[in-house]
């Protein structure tokens, strides 16, 4: 438990500043400690534990997305204080702290100026409720150094909120009351617990309504955090997902400094009055709302699936190899499940599965490789797509459904924009973490006029799909940020957005009551089963993949043959797509190289799909 008291440990060390290695040693120590088994789960997480239960200046972790990067700041790395009574000078360390001790001697020669940068971090946007819940439950096992006893209380709040303003994640009838159906049990003691701290929990959320916390997605909850970064500034990028270990700082002074400004001081010191109130608010929000976190160590997250070991360690490879055995059977089950969900359409289920494990694995100059945007056309209307999204959401750790109604397209901010007045990047719905499933619901789109921002939004979606990049609006210029987002478009006819592959849905069953049908399918799955699917989808994405020379040759021959028969029907674009399909198909079976069979299968399902689209075309006459 020594770990939690780093600050006390820091300051005396500063006195021996002649030896600069102590900083490195501190970091080393913490990294070492955190590597030890289980130790990282001792650290309370800002994601799970409400802020007021956490001790200031203790070690916490935060699973987040870097939403904005502020300008670097210079701070007093080492400074000297003068005790007013004894006149004794003491050297102190300013690292990992926001405020100094009393009586700073500004003219001391021993002051060392150092540099750090502030990142504005928000919880991973669109994180599925199940992912939050599982990581919360696993954290609940160990409760060090906080007086907080994790209980169902906080969860129930979030879920209620989710139900109200985003989407009902549970398959329950709306009238059965919010507190009843708790899918994973454990909903017993909840009621009485919600009562007591309710006043505390509501206050911050009230405040946050007028303090815009700048979450990328509407209706998001959770703490935003100003992370002070000391080392390796260049290694972090915007939109990185990180697990940050650092020292929590919620010193109330931070707030007071911002608010109580002596007006006479402002007059004489225009430097501070230069900051617009907006900028003040964005950069120095009250610490009680946006805590400061002084980063000791950050781990980039490959995924945020709590069911998978997150660090690439030995247990991960052990985990992978043990799971590989099961891979094929889990795939079959998942396929069966998706087939049911897609009203008995096996081919569409196959494609949906491939889509869910797709990933931009590399880029060749401007071309992103591995993306697989799926357009499911012919979706039944009336909330089918909504239900479908809920099922996808249950499977992937991060997702967002964008209902492409005319109103949202015209009014919603998709592309992040730099606000020069507040000097911050105002987030938009396309600022998402890697491998987020973006569910575009085009069935919601009606006829009407798109205004200029609507056109911009559609263009942004098109760019996202074709180039996997979002051009952030910096008002004087645009800046391109590459992304890695799985886009699934559901539409009635062919989507107006580009896509890598279109599958017209051919329902085999027509249930009289769609809602009921899907709910029963969903309820029929055990949690353990769903968890397997979740692991499967995240894992398949991380596997390596290669093509042998022999298969390369076979693929080439095949292509030439196909072209020989009918050069019009098979183009380079088709080959692009088939190579991606072959890759995903192999990975979905846990195979890390492309086999001849794999290629033939890929060709086969692509053929089936194409014949289906052509059929559709001839049915609909001359669809563009």
């Amino acid at each position: 438990m020594r770990m939690w008291f780093i600050c006390r440990f820091c300051c005396p060390a500063a006195q021996s500043n002649s030896n600069p290695e102590w900083e490195a040693k501190v970091l080393e120590y913490f990294k070492g400690q955190l590597k030890e088994k289980e130790s990282h789960s001792w650290v309370p997480s800002l994601n799970d534990v409400p802020l007021h239960y956490l001790k200031p200046n203790s070690l916490v972790k935060f699973r987040c997305l870097v939403q904005d990067m502020f300008d670097p700041e210079f701070y007093m790395g080492v400074y000297e204080t003068v005790d007013p009574s004894t006149k004794a000078n003491v050297l102190r360390c300013g690292k990992y702290k926001d405020v100094t001790e009393c009586g700073v001697d500004l003219n001391s020669r021993n002051t060392v100026t150092a540099e750090r940068q502030t990142f504005y971090c928000v919880p991973i946007p669109g994180e599925s409720p199940w992912a939050k819940e599982i990581s919360f439950l696993s954290a609940a096992r160990v409760v060090p150094s906080t007086s907080y006893v994790p209980s169902r209380q906080k969860r129930s709040y979030e879920e209620d909120d989710d139900d109200m303003d985003t989407q009902p994640q549970k398959q329950r009838e709306p009238h059965t009351g919010t507190h009843q159906a708790e899918p994973h049990g454990n909903g017993d003691s909840k009621r009485q617990e919600t009562e007591a701290p309710s006043s505390q929990t509501t206050t911050p959320s009230d405040c946050s309504s007028h303090l815009d916390l700048n979450f990328p997605l509407p209706g998001e909850r959770g703490p935003a955090c100003l992370v002070k970064v000391y080392e390796g500034l260049d290694s972090f990028k915007l939109n990185d997902t990180l697990e940050i270990y650092g020292i929590l700082s919620v010193n109330p002074v931070l707030t007071v400094l911002g608010e109580e400004k002596d007006p006479s001081l402002l007059l004489l010191n225009p430097t501070e009055s230069m900051e617009t109130p907006e900028e003040q608010r964005a950069h120095d929000p009250p610490a009680s709302l946006v805590p400061r976190l002084h980063m000791l160590y950050a781990r980039p997250l490959q995924h945020n699936n709590p069911l998978l070991p997150s660090a690439p360690t030995e247990d991960q490879s052990a985990f992978v190899s043990s799971f590989l055995v099961e891979m094929a059977s889990v795939r079959a089950e998942l396929l069966a499940y998706l087939t049911h969900v897609l009203l008995g359409d096996g081919l569409a289920a196959e494609y949906l599965l491939l889509h869910l494990i797709s990933d931009v694995y590399t880029r060749r100059d401007v071309l992103p490789l591995g993306k697989f945007t799926l357009n499911l056309s012919g979706c039944p209307l009336n909330s089918y797509t909504e239900r479908l999204y809920q099922i996808v959401q249950q499977l992937v750790p991060c997702s967002y459904r964008l209902s492409m109604s005319l109103h949202t397209m015209n009014s919603m901010r998709l592309v992040p924009k730099k606000d020069y007045v507040a000097n911050r990047l105002v987030s938009g719905a396309l600022q998402l973490a890697r491998n987020t499933s973006l569910f575009l619901d085009e069935t919601q789109l009606e006829q009407g006029q798109l205004d200029s921002s609507g056109v911009r939004n559609i263009t942004a979606l098109g760019n996202l799909i074709s180039w996997q990049k979002v051009d952030y609006d910096f008002s004087y210029h645009q800046m391109e940020f590459p992304c890695n987002i799985n886009v699934l478009v559901t539409s009635e006819g062919r989507s107006l957005l580009p896509s890598d592959c279109q599958v017209p849905l051919q329902p085999q069953v027509t249930p009289p009551n769609m809602e009921e049908y899907l709910t029963t399918i969903h309820m029929a799955q055990f949690t353990s089963q769903i968890n397997k699917f979740r692991v499967y989808l995240s894992l398949a994405r991380t596997l390596d993949y290669s093509i042998s020379d022999e298969v390369t040759k076979a693929v080439e021959d095949d292509f030439v043959d196909m072209r020989k028969d009918d050069p019009q029907s098979v183009t380079a674009e088709d080959l692009h797509r088939m190579l991606v399909v072959a890759r995903l198909l192999s990975l979905s079976l846990g195979q890390t190289t492309l086999s001849r069979d794999g290629w033939m299968r890929a060709k086969h399902i692509d053929m089936l799909r194409r014949s289906r689209t052509e059929q559709q075309k001839s049915l609909n006459g001359n669809e563009p």
Partner: protein
């Protein structure tokens, strides 16, 4: 050296402890150098600073072992030596190779700065801009001192200049003393690399202005008056604070002094926010911003949107502590006090000059580039390094490569012809899905000043420029669009065919004259838009119809098409060997080892530098043989057509041939355009023409398809039909009016070839033009 001395002496120098330098008093440094008006210039020569200075030296300098050698406290600057050195620099520095625009009109073989002083004496603007690289090449030690201790050294420079100036031009009358403004500190930095070591040093950074504040009057000297006895006193502002005198010195009343605002002295100040320019940023991070303070006459010199180089002193000020609070935030506020602004894009408004942003290349880099250039197959190498993910289309890539290099800029404005376009314009047309967009994206990512727009989404306004009212200042601001922004770069326009006619019409001027004329909301101006256009167009019928001409396929006005140097078709060749190579290429694309990818990325960086270097330093000219070859090529082209009774080449083709040849010479890093360059240009042009200007009816290449929108055979046929119609009408004898439909049927019956309604109408129109007949509704009347 108590603080008292400093304050009383009002010396421009500051002799503080290192820690107090952090704070920086507002009157030190150039930002606050006395810019006050001095009515009596004669006395300046013996300005108090100079005399005072020797005192100050004695007072503040620590005596070293050498006895004589006095330095400013906390530095190694000896005022005397420093002054002497700088005067020597001014008197002797010659830079015969200078090509800076600021030095235009000066004799390069005479001491540069003495000429500038002379200019000051004539013009009367008391500012001397000094290029730091000149100082460095003249005296490296002086340069180091200037960079490290700017707020001590620059006032010394001021003194030196003023002494020298008034010695030389004793009768000049200046508004105030000459101020030295150094710029281009070689420590030119990217904003990102500023770190605590740069505090209080002189730095030059580049960036873009994003916000400017209103003018802030900053108090320099407070004027207090006693309410009791009307005794007045002045107090200088020290580190942003005024020490209010508690007791009146005259009548000894306490707290009787009141500040009189309108008798206090203020100086102008402006806060400017500068953002890192997009080119210096590592991918995936957000741009940094820095606060900059401009003082006195530098206020309002820049506008939001300007790209500037700033030279100034980097400052860090601790956050003011609230007296009621014991502990403070441990963060400093940083800003830059500007000494010198230099707009990097102002040239665009003046025109003529060569690209100003000189990219600095290290010796080794230049060596690598030259080595690459000396290889015989450099042209092929570079073109294959271009967009490696796109398969084949070698000629198109070569064309784009030449576009990236561009021709040599020539100026004929003396002879009234104006500028010749040096930029190569390329149009790609072809079936959808033939990676045209990808090629455009690649080019856009490759060039520093690239712009990418889609014809569908852009309006004429978005391409050119528009006038906007600044919400804060209510001032009209000209916002430039894609074409102006890509000045000296490449403007990539996707879906060119989807562009509205009015938007396209803007391009006419840009693509030939390379300027943009704007007359909007009272702002009338002509902006330079020396941009190359790389456009992609899809055929009107989703598939390319090989039976139609290019014009018919893409439905673009021929006036615009003729402005493209090269028009390529990107079609599916449909042959087996090609398919095999394509398949191989694609599979390799999807599965390639890390190292290969690594290698390729290196190529892209080299390619970028190679292009930048060639564009900046290589200006090839035609040699005798090449000129002959060009003439022959042109004559040949004309001859081909004349055999068949049509014009097959226009001067525009010759011009573009020259451009291409020059660009090819640039690829070789050659200062001379030689015959091989002309050969390649010819070949490429022929290839492009073969693709785009082949008349599908005859199979011949026919340039008039592109220049007049109609092939010569088509025109001939049109005439024939008209003649046949005329003959037929004549043969009918005197009939003043005929039925339209009947006439059409008659003609069809008579003619051997099938005659469409279009052809018939065209023929009627032709005859109407001859004043032979008129068509009114359904009847045709003879005249």
């Amino acid at each position: 050296m108590s603080l008292g001395i400093e304050v009383d002496m009002s010396s421009p120098l500051m002799y503080g402890t290192p820690s107090s330098r952090v704070e920086g008093t507002p009157r030190s440094g150039v930002g606050g150098t006395p810019a006050r008006q001095r009515p009596d210039l004669g006395s300046i020569r013996k300005a108090p600073q100079v005399d005072l200075h020797s005192d100050a030296d004695g007072a503040v300098a620590s005596e070293q072992a050498l006895g004589q050698k006095l330095v400013i406290w906390g530095t190694d600057v000896n005022v005397g030596t420093c002054k002497e050195k700088f005067q020597r620099f001014l008197q002797r520095f010659i830079d015969p190779t200078s090509n800076e625009d600021e030095n235009a009109g000066l004799d390069l073989n005479e001491p540069l700065y003495m000429q500038k002083l002379e200019e000051i004496s004539v013009v009367g603007e008391p500012v001397l801009n000094v290029n730091c690289s000149h100082v460095q090449s003249f005296d490296a030690d002086l340069y180091r001192q200037l960079i490290s201790y700017p707020q001590e050294v620059i006032p010394t420079f001021d003194m030196a200049v003023n002494e020298l100036f008034f010695e030389r031009f004793p009768d000049s009358i200046l508004e105030h003393q000459i101020q030295v403004r150094p710029y281009n500190a070689l420590k030119t930095r990217n904003m990102r690399s500023l770190n605590p070591e740069d505090i209080d040093q002189m730095i030059t950074i580049s960036g873009m202005v994003i916000r400017t504040s209103q003018l802030i009057p900053e108090m320099q000297e407070a004027f207090f008056q006693c309410q009791v006895c009307a005794f007045s006193t002045r107090v200088e502002v020290d580190r942003g604070r005024i020490a209010e005198p508690a007791v009146c010195r005259n009548c000894n009343t306490t707290h009787s002094l009141a500040l009189i605002h309108n008798r206090s002295a203020f100086s102008d100040k402006q806060m400017i926010k500068v953002q890192e320019s997009p080119d210096d940023m590592p991918a995936g991070q957000t741009p940094h911003t820095t606060i900059v303070y401009a003082h006195n006459d530098l206020v309002d010199k820049v506008q939001p949107g300007d790209r500037i180089n700033i030279t100034g002193i980097y400052r860090a000020v601790p956050m003011r502590e609230n007296p009621r609070q014991s502990n403070v935030k441990s963060v400093y506020k940083t800003h830059i006090d500007v000494i010198h602004f230099r707009k990097t894009d102002e040239k665009r408004l003046h025109g003529l000059d060569e690209d100003s942003d000189q990219k600095l290349f290290t010796e080794e880099r230049v060596q690598i580039l030259k080595e690459l250039a000396s290889k015989p197959d450099v042209y092929d190498r570079l073109s294959s390094a271009l967009a490696p993910s796109i398969y084949e289309h070698e000629d198109i890539k070569k064309g784009i490569l030449l576009q990236l290099f561009g021709g040599t800029r020539k100026d004929f404005s003396q002879t009234g012809r104006g500028n010749f376009r040096a930029e190569v314009n390329i149009l790609l047309c072809g079936d959808p899905g033939t990676s045209k967009s990808q090629l455009l994206q690649y080019v856009f990512n490759l060039v520093p000043r690239g712009q990418y727009t889609s014809g569908k989404g852009s309006s004429a306004v978005g391409l050119t420029a528009y006038v906007m009212k600044d919400p804060e200042t209510k001032q009209l601001v000209l916002q430039t669009g894609a074409l102006v922004l890509s000045d000296n770069g490449i403007c990539c326009i996707d879906e060119f065919d989807k562009m509205s006619d009015s938007t396209r019409s803007v391009l006419h001027e840009v693509m030939e004259q390379q300027t943009l004329s704007i007359a909007k909301a009272g702002i009338i101006c002509q902006l330079n838009a020396r941009t190359s256009v790389l456009a992609a167009a899809n055929p009107v019928e989703s598939q390319w119809n090989p039976k139609k001409t290019t014009i018919e396929n893409i439905q673009l006005p021929h006036t615009l098409l003729s402005r493209f140097d090269l028009i390529f078709l990107m079609l599916d060749p449909q042959d087996e060997a090609y398919d095999r190579r394509l398949a191989h290429h694609l599979v390799a694309l999807y599965y390639q080892s890390e190292e290969q990818i690594e290698e390729e990325f290196l190529d892209m960086a080299v390619l970028k530098d190679y292009i930048a270097y060639a564009r900046t330093y290589i200006n090839p000219r035609l040699n005798e043989e090449a000129s002959q070859a060009l003439i022959e090529a042109y004559v040949d082209m004309r001859k081909i057509g004349s055999g068949r009774g049509m014009v097959s080449a226009y001067p525009r083709q010759l011009e573009s041939l020259i451009r291409l040849a020059e660009a090819h010479a640039k690829v070789r890093f050659s200062d001379k355009v030689e015959t091989i360059d002309v050969e390649e240009a010819k070949r490429l042009q022929r290839e492009a023409l073969k693709q785009s200007a082949t008349d599908p009816r005859t199979g011949f290449v026919d340039i008039s398809i592109l220049t007049t929108g109609m092939s010569a055979t088509a025109r001939k046929r049109k005439e024939e039909v008209a003649q046949a119609l005329k003959k037929m009408i004549q043969s009918k004898g005197k009939t003043p009016a005929m039925k339209y439909q009947q006439l059409f049927d008659d003609l069809r019956g008579q003619s051997e070839a099938a005659i469409t309604k279009d052809m018939f109408e065209e023929a009627l129109r032709a005859l109407a033009d001859e004043d032979y007949l008129t068509v009114t509704g359904k009847t045709v009347r003879l005249l």
